[in-house]
Every structure is written in C-alpha cells, then in structure tokens.
Symmetry: C2
C-alpha cells in the first residue's frame, strides 16, 4: 500500500465543483473514474480544497491510497492521458501513509479576477467576473488592511457552512490593476465557505463607492453576514497556490 499525492489543475467551467455530487460531473468523480481505469482499483481521492462549481485551480492537492506498482511520479503522465483536457495533473509523488493535506499547516493563495470595461472580452470571460462599473482600485487596496491578520470572519461566511469556529487568519491581501483586469490576491491559513468570494464582493462595493474603505472594519466587527457584500461569481476565482509548511 502506498499513498500518492497529486497536484491538480483544472478549468472549473464545466464541472459541478470538486466534490462528488449525485447529479453532475465533478473534478473528484473524474479523478476517481480515470484512476480506476488506470490502476484497476476502486480509488477514492481526498481533496485538500473542495472548490465550488465554476471555480478554477492551478494547484489543488489530492491524495489516494493504492496497491498499484506504478511509481508515484509516473502516475501524472498516465493519468493525464485519460483525463479530459480541462483537468491536468501537474505533479504526482509518493508521500508517507500518514500524510494528509487537511491536517497539515498550509497557506493557500486565491486570486479573484475582475474584468472592468464597457463591454465583456470573450477571451477572458471564463476566468474573470465582468463589470462595467468603474472600480477605484486605490479604495479597494486601502480596504485590504482591515482583513489582515486573525479575525472572526463570520460576516464573510455563507450560512450553510458547518465550521466550528469562524476565526481565520489572512496572511496577505492586495489589489492590482493591469489594463482592464483587476486582480485581488488573498493568502491565508484557512478559509470559510465562500469567504474569498464574499471578500471580493465586498471589495467591489468599496471600489464602487457604496461604502468607504474603513467601513470594512465595521463589517468584520459586526459578525453578521448581512453587513458584507454579495458572493462574487465563481468564474472569477482561482486557487492559485497551495504551500504546505514544514512541521
């Protein structure tokens, strides 16, 4: 028996998210199907980050256990030949049998992309949220400071979360504009359900002048989901990097 770790990149456009669903194809179900085809065993991968429908990833992490004799680092090549072209393993390797991505300290970085112009641009439509509202990125950047560090992020958590505590730590957050594309980059040691998309929705309200940057402090302190902005659409969200810390 050995444990294999996969780094998985995907375009989430055509999937019902990571996690297996009764109706609809998911990243997890495609990985299980193709691993069974490759290794001849019933494989159940465990994903580190269960991204929502339509969300993209450069580097999600999954593990599975197998009796197969194929060397761990060869699995990426063989699996990619079976996967659809919108899912691609970036690396595969053997890890100790007790290595589990959800029980290790890690820093995840998400990017949220907003294409801000008079009309949508077809070649970026699948990987960004479009808005024709002018967004002031200086205001958005100013608001970022209030998210930094450890806070109770209850205002930034969708109701159907089952998290025991809503305290999380954000280790980095900033806003950049390149041409008509605005990128919000958020790093943290853990995120609540929909947290990054609600942060993005709230920063868009700041950029739009709905409330001043400093109001974000009050939204956080309120611990009330109703105070924060809407959940920004899934297509703008990308799991950008995933770093496991040495222990």
């Amino acid at each position: 028996m050995k444990r294999v770790k996969l780094i998985v990149a995907y375009d989430g456009t055509n999937y019902h998210g990571w996690q297996i669903q009764p109706n609809g194809i998911t990243i997890e179900s495609e990985l299980n199907r193709c691993l069974k085809d490759l290794l001849g065993e019933d494989i159940k991968v465990i994903g580190a980050s269960r991204t929502d429908a339509g969300v993209h990833a450069l580097c999600n992490v999954a593990i599975f256990d197998t009796q197969a004799r194929m060397p761990g680092e060869k699995i990426s090549y063989a699996l990619n030949q079976r996967l659809p072209e919108d899912i691609r393993i970036q690396r595969s390797e053997e890890v100790p049998l007790d290595w589990h991505p959800r029980y290790r300290h890690s820093v995840k970085t998400y990017q949220y992309h907003i294409y801000c112009a008079e009309f949508p641009l077809p070649t970026v439509r699948l990987y960004s949220h479009f808005t024709y509202y002018h967004l002031n990125t200086e205001w958005m950047q100013e608001a970022c400071q209030y998210f930094m560090g450890e806070h109770d992020f209850k205002s930034f958590c969708s109701a159907r979360s089952s998290a025991e505590t809503t305290v999380r730590t954000i280790t980095g957050i900033h806003v950049e504009k390149q041409g008509d594309m605005i990128t919000i980059e958020v790093s943290g040691t853990g995120f609540l359900y929909n947290m990054v998309r609600i942060i993005a929705g709230t920063l868009m309200e700041v950029g739009n002048g709905v409330y001043p940057p400093a109001h974000v402090k009050e939204i956080i302190e309120a611990c009330d989901r109703q105070q924060a902005g809407p959940v920004a659409p899934a297509r703008g969200l990308l799991l950008y990097s995933y770093d496991f810390l040495e222990e």
Copy 2:
C-alpha cells in the same frame, strides 16, 4: 443609408473562422444573423481580417451598410444583447460611405502564445499552443531580426493563398517569456495566408535547436514553403490590435 464600423472581439474556439462557410457557424454568419434580428434588414458585414477556425481576436474590424435609424454608437449595446457570449462588439460608430478597412493602410499586430511546461495548464489551454519541448527564447529573439522589414515571404505562405504578390513588410517582431508562457508578437502592414502561424512554427524550431537563428535568413531567401517550419496550431493565435493609418 449609412455605413457602420464594428470592432469585434471573439473567442474563436467554437467557430469555423470568420468567413461564412457552407457547413458550420462562423463569426461573420453570427454577426449577420444578429444584425438582421436587430435591424430587420438583410445585412452582410465585410470583415477586415478573415481569421481561420480557432483563431481569436480582440479587435477585428467589420463594416456594414444599413437604412436603420439607430445611431451607430448604440448598435454595440443592442447587438451584444443578441450575440453569443464568445463574440462581443467593443465599439460601433458611423464612418463615411467610402470607408473600407481592406483598402486603407493599416498595421495589424498578432500575438502567438506558447505554453511551455511539463504538462498542459487547463486555464490557458484555449488560448495557447502547448509544448513540453524546452524552447530557448534567446535564440528565438535572435531569429526575429531576419523577419524585419520588406521581404518576399513566399516561404511563409500556405499553398492555397491567392495573393498576387508574396512581398510583405513586417514592422515589429519580438519574443517574450513570462513564467511558462512565451509570446511572439508580430506587427505588419499585411500578412499572407497562415504567415504568422508559419513564422511561429519556424521560431519554435529555432527555439528547439532544429536550426540556428541565422538559418531564418536562408529560409526567407529560398522562397520555398518547404524550407520553413510547420503551421503552428490556431488556438495560439490572437489578432491583438488593428490600427488604421491617417491618409
């Protein structure tokens, strides 16, 4: 009667190119269909650049004549509501009745994107050509100098071209690498059939060490299509900008 000019952006993935085909949907046929729906007239747009199947554009140019009373600059908004989301008008305006994009001096800039890594990346797959060969971009950049200026580009023209002369002028060409993405940018006053894709295919052979940069000079001088590299795949090509010169 008035003439309207459209700036058209599209994701070419799902189209059989610009030009109307007996079988298959094209950018031109979609524009004609939606303009008829909007204006109630049989409209036939004329495109400046008849891009191939799978090629993308930020700014192709089309004109059409209409009796409609809708102001030219409003047509973009109304037409975008009817078009599929992979085609979007970026601007519409009235132009003189004798304004014709194919009979004006212009400079077009194309970008060719190559994603160069061990495995493909799903989120860039539709807009770049993937290769796992290492490409030396310094060699590619060195080869660019030989393309600059006016030359007979017969070696870089696919056989089914009907061009009267194969002399063309390249006004700018360079190669850039950002992370794993290589971009070839080529500007010129006119291009032969498949010319940019054959230049890209040839530069990839240079980057790959198949021949040295200086051999590009011999390929041009040979005036023989067999001497140049292959036609690089359509998905990597993007019509990036289109500038009409004052006369």
